[in-house]
């Protein structure tokens, strides 16, 4: 199982989502993508989309307005 880190700080919509999509295509099933973002919309936008794609996903807020989204590629 590998962990891949993706820095999306200071990026506006929809860049975090597109970067996540691109990375996920290169990853193996069971790998975890850690997406760092400070965009308030991403925690809804990215999380909803990843759920729809059938991957496992959750997020935590590390600092004020800074989140890490964890995506486990499931298929």
């Amino acid at each position: 199982m590998a962990e891949v880190r993706l820095d999306c700080m200071y990026e506006a919509c929809p860049i975090p989502l597109l970067k996540a999509h691109k990375k996920l295509q290169q990853m193996e099933i069971g790998d975890v993508l850690i997406l760092e973002t400070d965009h308030n919309c991403s925690i809804k936008n990215v999380v909803d989309w990843v759920k729809k794609q059938g991957h496992n996903v959750d997020y935590i807020e590390l600092n004020e307005g800074e989140w890490e989204i964890y995506i486990e590629k499931a298929k």
Partner: protein
């Protein structure tokens, strides 16, 4: 900036210890959860959209005006131009569109949408602060800056052709039974398609 590293194999006892800590955290976490639900958890889009629609109707009832954004921006700009010595009030646009709400002797700054736009910024700030999620987000690169300025300019110019942004020209225009709202919506998809192509080609690197 992505690094790849392999997780170290976890020892079974560490797992157990972490699990115990997780359980105790949960107990104390109930209060925090309620707090999060009220102040932080994003509302569903459907709820947000319905509230926006209802607010628009209330605004229409109370003030005889519907929600617009650009009108405020234009009038604020015209006010600034006036202050630096230009005469935007003599522009053709302001003589044609009496519906813009500028009565005789009235100044551009009296436009109600200027106040409303300021209130939208403050409202979003309030919501962010109550959630303790406020952070100053700097500009990352020159490219980002240029695209933001260019995108903003395109949008601003376009609103004068289509009579409003996607609030005045769409969100308030379709319920006003005006065909231009529907045409605007349809061709927004064309614009968004072209924009997406540009975005993928130049911004996603």
């Amino acid at each position: 900036m992505s690094g790849k590293f392999i997780l170290k194999k976890q020892n079974k006892s560490i797992y157990l210890f972490r699990y115990k800590r997780f359980v105790t955290q949960r107990k104390g976490g109930e209060v925090l959860k309620n707090h999060d639900r009220i102040l932080k958890k994003p509302w569903p889009y459907m709820v947000g959209g319905s509230i926006l629609a209802i607010l628009n109707i209330i605004l229409f009832i109370l003030t005889d005006k519907v929600w617009r954004v650009t009108s405020g921006v234009v009038h604020l700009g015209a006010y600034v131009l006036e202050k630096i010595g230009l005469r935007p009030s003599e522009w053709y646009y302001f003589s044609q569109n009496t519906g813009e709400g500028l009565g005789t002797g009235e100044m551009f700054i009296y436009n109600p949408y200027i106040i409303m736009n300021a209130a939208i910024i403050v409202g979003a700030l309030l919501s962010t602060l109550w959630a303790s999620e406020f952070k100053w987000k700097r500009i990352k690169s020159g490219k980002q800056f240029v695209f933001a300025l260019l995108g903003g300019f395109l949008m601003g110019y376009a609103t004068r052709l289509s009579f409003g942004c996607n609030i005045g020209g769409y969100f308030s225009a379709i319920p006003s039974f005006s065909l231009h709202g529907w045409v605007f919506a349809l061709f927004m998809f064309v614009g968004a398609w072209v924009g997406s192509k540009i975005l993928i080609k130049y911004l996603l690197t």
